[in-house]
């Protein structure tokens, strides 16, 4: 069964559902694999007619995958700029891919946990996305797709260099595993630069919300492997997991220290974020990200019940520019978008619990739900 773009855009991916395991620090895990057909020009070098031929060869195989139930499958030239941008905001396609048209395609499963870009920088960029810290499981999901596809497509592979990719930085496993982490504690305690530097030093990349060259907004960072050759997939994921575990520890320590030394400042920030989000009539995209980040921190610190976390994760997604543009069905000026954003946030947070009425002193409130985290 084939889905329409409207079905995909109408609901968030499964990883944003209340049933998914929402983690206090790690928002999502993603793993992508780069694959190419042997002895056929890479998309960046292929002529348009060659790209169309490659797309025609690959797309039916991807559409036929058992994993791709209720599949959404389209050529990029069939999608509007807004639709493509919504897919970028959901991390289902890359910014580079959104710029593509005729001769490029995208296939997404109904749950929006698997997405396959055809003729991005490589002939195939396949990705799995899950909620929380689940890198090994996420790799298995996409590994299954790859194993099924390789039975039907002749992938370029060299016994020494592994999977051959358009850019030599991806050669070998062709794998980029990444986790989206929320680090307000390290940012507020001004340790973030030091932590980012030390992660970079051990060969992992830390980037902003939308990858390479983007600003870190909403205290959100992507941590990913930098190298793809010389280690097994599992080794790369192990290494990444260890570093992310350390990051989680450092973040939790920073939060505890802040609670001990600056609890009133923290409560003040959380209260103000709550106040603005529930009462403002115009909120910019950047302001929304930053305030939602602080609200999420408030949940993690036990100022609000744990169950609120999923709502904040959804709002982080729904308040992005293309999502709003898509929702309104008509072209919005930036200030109109800010009004609509504020309307949506107010509406969604209507039943959000109030922050603690009284200032607390030194002790973290015990929330039964947060103890299991």
């Amino acid at each position: 069964m084939t889905m329409k773009i409207a079905n995909i855009l109408a609901s968030p991916g499964d990883w944003l559902s209340p049933e998914a395991g929402h983690h206090p620090v790690v928002i999502s895990s993603r793993v992508r694999l780069a694959r190419n057909l042997a002895k056929v020009p890479f998309p960046g070098w292929a002529k348009k007619s060659e790209r169309i031929r490659i797309l025609d060869e690959i797309k039916p195989e991807v559409d036929a995958l058992v994993e791709m139930q209720n599949v959404f499958s389209e050529q990029l030239n069939e999608l509007s700029a807004t639709e493509k941008q919504v897919l970028v905001e959901r991390h289902l396609i890359s910014r580079e891919h959104a710029a593509k048209g005729m001769g490029s395609g995208v296939v997404i499963n109904g749950a929006q946990t698997l997405s396959i870009m055809i003729n991005e920088e490589d002939h195939l960029r396949m990705q799995a996305i899950t909620c929380g810290l689940e890198l090994a499981k996420t790799y298995q999901m996409i590994d299954g797709v790859d194993t099924e596809l390789e039975a039907h497509l002749d992938f370029a592979f060299d016994p020494d260099l592994g999977y051959l990719t358009a850019c030599p930085t991806n050669v070998g496993t062709g794998m980029r595993a990444s986790a989206m982490v929320h680090l307000p504690g390290l940012v507020l305690s001004e340790q973030i630069n030091q932590v980012v530097n030390s992660v970079n030093k051990i060969g992992l990349a830390v980037r902003g919300l939308y990858g390479e060259g983007t600003e870190a907004m909403g205290n959100l960072f992507q941590v990913s492997n930098q190298t793809t050759l010389g280690e097994k997939e599992e080794q790369i994921i192990d290494r990444l997991n260890k570093v992310i575990d350390t990051l989680i520890q450092r973040e939790n320590q920073a939060r505890e220290n802040l609670l001990e030394t600056k609890e009133t400042m923290l409560m003040d920030q959380v209260g103000r974020a709550y106040g603005v989000l529930t009462h403002a009539y115009s909120v910019s995209s950047k302001e929304a990200l930053n305030l939602l980040s602080i609200l999420r921190l408030g949940i993690d610190l036990g100022f609000f019940p744990d169950g609120c976390r999923v709502l904040v994760n959804q709002l982080l997604m729904d308040t992005q520019p293309a999502h709003l543009q898509h929702l309104s069905k008509q072209k919005l000026a930036p200030e109109e978008r800010d009004h609509l954003r504020a309307d949506i946030v107010r509406e969604k947070l209507k039943n959000f619990p109030n922050p603690p009425t009284n200032r607390r002193s030194g002790k973290k409130a015990v929330d039964p739900a947060s103890e299991s985290q």
Partner: protein
């Protein structure tokens, strides 16, 4: 191989770089490499060293393939885009790529997933390699009975190709 600079000591440091689309190679001995400040092959311009050598020490250069026979991608395209034209380019430009890949990654050999189809082929070629070694040993020991049976097994594996 002797050092390209002093022409006396054995060369222990081998450098390869792409200069103006041509592959330049230079071999240095331990002391000359130190003298020229070659400690990190990636952070060092071979062109400077070559120029520093002067006319009298003109180093032999091996020009490499300019264009990929499969897709027509050129050395200049690679320099401009940092990308390759097709999977075959890895063969075509292998000499220049080797040092680039070495500098980019943790290792130079893939140890991860192998496509199932190739895995079977690789397992077979490993087995063939092993059998040929056994055959040689058997012949050396004048154990012709074993040699004959090993040879039969090799023929059978080769026939599967």
């Amino acid at each position: 191989m002797t050092c390209d600079v002093c022409k006396t000591n054995p060369a222990t440091v081998y450098l390869t770089q792409i200069v103006d689309g041509n592959m330049k190679k230079i071999n240095l001995c331990e002391s000359c490499s130190k003298e020229k400040g070659v400690s990190d092959p990636t952070g060092f311009a071979l062109a400077d060293l070559l120029l520093g050598l002067g006319e009298s020490h003109q180093v032999e250069t091996t020009p490499v393939a300019e264009q990929c026979p499969v897709c027509g991608f050129t050395q200049a395209d690679l320099k401009k885009t940092g990308r390759l034209g097709c999977s075959e380019c890895y063969q075509t430009f292998s000499e220049g790529l080797a040092s680039l890949i070495k500098a980019m990654h943790k290792g130079t050999r893939h140890t991860g997933k192998i496509p199932a189809r190739l895995y079977r082929n690789l397992a077979r070629s490993d087995r063939l390699h092993e059998l040929r070694e056994h055959l040689e040993e058997a012949v050396q020991k004048e154990d012709y009975e074993s040699a004959a049976s090993i040879r039969d097994e090799i023929r059978q594996l080769e026939a599967e190709e």
